[in-house]
């Protein structure tokens, strides 16, 4: 069974952490993954840096740009992760924009992910319709879970369609925003979280965007299966370096 599916069956709220591969330093990737697992994180999203990350706010843009400056490439990331399954068993997702995957070759990319032991992908600018028509069969061939986003503006009808195409979890964007721009959750989010919970979807939902601390994590996971922290973790990395991950994760739950 896919490690993501297995993890989602556990009776607990999932804490997922996003970071940009190759940030703060090119070769920090593996150490960060190992430290995150050691500190009890449930799922890791490894960001494949892109020059033009449309859905990201300044924090993730900055880490992505820095990672590219550090020399990160798709090939280097795959090399860094080559032996990752010798040291960790945590579910791993690669999150990145579509163009670098398209240049690598979608099938070659998926094949490489499967070889390494990557469990899933999140590709924000690959629309669900194009995926369903052109790429679903490839992902399935390599046992990869593809995760789609929904937002407060997504209609119930489309959420049900996305649910039908998904096979792991649904990435529930907390509010209409790019990453890293929310200070907290209010009634609007609460209503939205509740609305989605009441749809009784087959895939569990994990909330992302706007989760930065213990309070927002527990608000987000009141209705959802888990929550994803990205920008706040990257800020911590840039302020405290990659050596103090324990401190950050310990503050969340």
């Amino acid at each position: 069974m896919n490690r993501i599916t297995q993890k989602l069956q556990e009776d607990k709220k999932i804490l997922s952490i996003y970071f940009s591969a190759g940030y703060p330093n090119l070769n920090d990737t593996v150490q960060i993954i190992q430290d995150l697992e050691k500190n009890g994180v449930d799922l890791i999203e490894i960001g494949l840096p892109f020059s033009d990350p449309l859905a990201d706010g300044p924090t993730i843009q900055g880490s992505s740009t820095q990672a590219l400056h550090n020399g990160m490439t798709t090939e280097i990331l795959f090399n860094q992760l080559g032996n990752i399954r010798e040291s960790v068993s945590i579910p791993l997702i690669i999150m990145g924009y579509f163009n670098p995957m398209l240049q690598y070759g979608v099938e070659a990319f998926c094949q490489k992910c499967a070889e390494i032991g990557i469990d899933g992908l999140i590709i924000p600018d690959l629309p669900v319709d194009v995926y369903a028509e052109k790429y679903k069969a490839i992902f399935e061939k390599y046992g990869l879970i593809n995760v789609f986003l929904i937002t407060p503006q997504t209609s119930d009808e489309r959420i049900r369609f996305i649910d039908s195409v998904s096979n792991g979890f649904i990435y529930m964007v907390s509010s209409a925003s790019v990453t890293g721009s929310q200070a907290g959750f209010g009634n609007t989010q609460e209503t939205y979280f509740e609305r989605i919970a009441n749809l009784n979807l087959k895939n569990p939902q994990i909330v992302g965007f706007g989760i930065s601390n213990k309070e927002t994590f527990s608000q987000a996971t009141k209705y959802a299966k888990g929550a994803i922290i990205g920008s706040a973790f990257i800020k911590h990395l840039s302020e405290s370096g990659s050596g103090k991950i324990e401190e950050f994760i310990g503050g969340i739950r």
């Binding site: 859905a55 670098p100 925003s177």
Partner: protein, 393 residues
């Protein structure tokens, strides 16, 4: 072969809507409504009335006698430079502001490179009394001060794009991020024939007035609707799309596209996407794109800010790939000289973007009987500093 958009939003393999889910409701609403709104009689009436009384259309089709003599062929200029705000851009912004009003939008955002589209957007927002925010790369703000001042005078807020290379590509990223953050009340007026479907088709339709007029104007002057060639410069490609539109399926009309070669196609400082690009995804569409082997988008270069874009509209990518369009690359030097020559022979100072199109006369030999229509997409007032620097005037 079909050179228009198909029902799925593609031109051959190019186009589509590669957008994050956050943009889906807005783009889908546009996709569902743009054709029916554009087809409404009162929309057409308002659009046409503004094009006539406000923009000053039809723009003349001018027979360039001295230029024709020099190249021993018949050259006509489509005078988009005479439009209000000085370029073809306003045809599209008038159309999109009317559409935005019918969609109930209260706030307009736009990206701009040289500032022409920003000015055209700020203009129609002033006309309609709608809030306007224009994203512009920090570097472009510094080198296009007069247009920044125009936008501010027109009541627009000019927000600097501080990410990446701080030019047009990054201004577009910032505008898209703004739209993600403001999904309900905001319409994004994209200025070129780029972006997710239906933008390339919508922009092309608004600009197609250019070729619609060429047809009847040429009929009056030459007794035939179809020229032998239509020529236009291409950055994203909106003036070109409008100039070609009614000729795409007329096989006897040659379609000529002129890209900016910058300091030379292979110099590392170029924007000749059809030569240097590979299939990729930028700003929501699949098209030809300048990028590294790793799929990172690279920085284009051209002396002309309006052609300084790493991609090309999906319609043009298809014209290039299918061979329907003949693509030329023109260097900074050749474009500047062509601009000066047009000024001296015809008394018209062209925008440096448009000057690229004229340099084709030195690259391709036309027959004496050929009728060649060149899109003079913008006037050169905004480029005076560049001309002065370049020619030490």
């Amino acid at each position: 072969m079909n050179f228009n958009v198909d029902e799925k939003g593609y031109y051959g393999e190019f186009g589509g809507a590669y957008i994050p889910e956050m943009l889906y409701p807005n783009v889908e609403e546009l996709r569902q409504k743009y054709l029916s709104i554009m087809d409404e009689p009162d929309f057409k009436a308002e659009f046409n009335q503004l094009l006539k009384d406000y923009v000053g259309r039809p723009s003349p089709l001018y027979f360039a006698k001295r230029l024709s003599e020099k190249y021993n062929t018949k050259v006509y200029l489509k005078r988009e430079d005479l439009n209000h705000t000085g370029a073809h851009k306003v045809n599209n912004t008038i159309g999109q502001i009317l559409l935005a009003k019918r969609l109930g939008k209260k706030r307009i955002i736009a990206e701009t490179g040289a500032g022409q589209h920003g000015v055209a957007t700020a203009t129609v927002c002033a006309l309609m009394g709608i809030e306007c925010i224009v994203y512009m790369g920090e570097i472009d703000i510094a080198r296009q001060a007069p247009n920044v001042a125009r936008m501010k005078m027109l009541g627009a807020e000019v927000r600097p794009a501080l990410s990446g290379s701080r030019t047009l590509k990054d201004a577009t990223n910032e505008a898209i991020r703004d739209w993600i953050n403001n999904p309900v009340d905001t319409h994004y007026i994209i200025g070129s024939a780029i972006g997710p479907h239906p933008y390339p088709d919508m922009v092309t339709r608004f600009q197609s007035i250019i070729s619609e007029e060429i047809k009847w104007q040429l009929k009056e002057k030459e007794g035939r609707e179809n020229p032998d060639y239509v020529v236009a410069c291409i950055g994203g490609g909106s003036n070109a799309a409008g100039t070609y539109y009614h000729f795409l399926h007329e096989p006897e009309v040659g379609i000529i596209a002129v890209e900016a070669a910058g300091k030379g196609v292979d110099s590392g400082h170029s924007a000749a996407t059809s030569k240097l690009g590979k299939v990729g995804v930028i700003h929501g569409c699949k098209t030809l794109l300048m990028q590294t082997v790793d799929g990172q988008i690279t920085e284009p270069y051209s002396i002309s800010a309006g052609l300084d874009y790493p991609g090309v509209g999906p319609m043009h990518a298809h014209l290039a790939q299918s061979g329907r369009g003949e693509f030329f690359s023109v260097t900074d030097d050749d474009a500047m000289n062509a601009g000066l020559q047009l000024t001296k022979l015809e008394g018209i100072i062209p925008a440096i973007e448009s000057a690229h199109a004229f340099a084709v006369l030195d690259q391709k030999k036309f027959k004496p009987t050929d009728v060649v229509v060149i899109s003079l997409s913008g006037r050169g007032d905004k480029d005076l500093d560049n001309y002065i620097d370049y020619f030490k005037l």
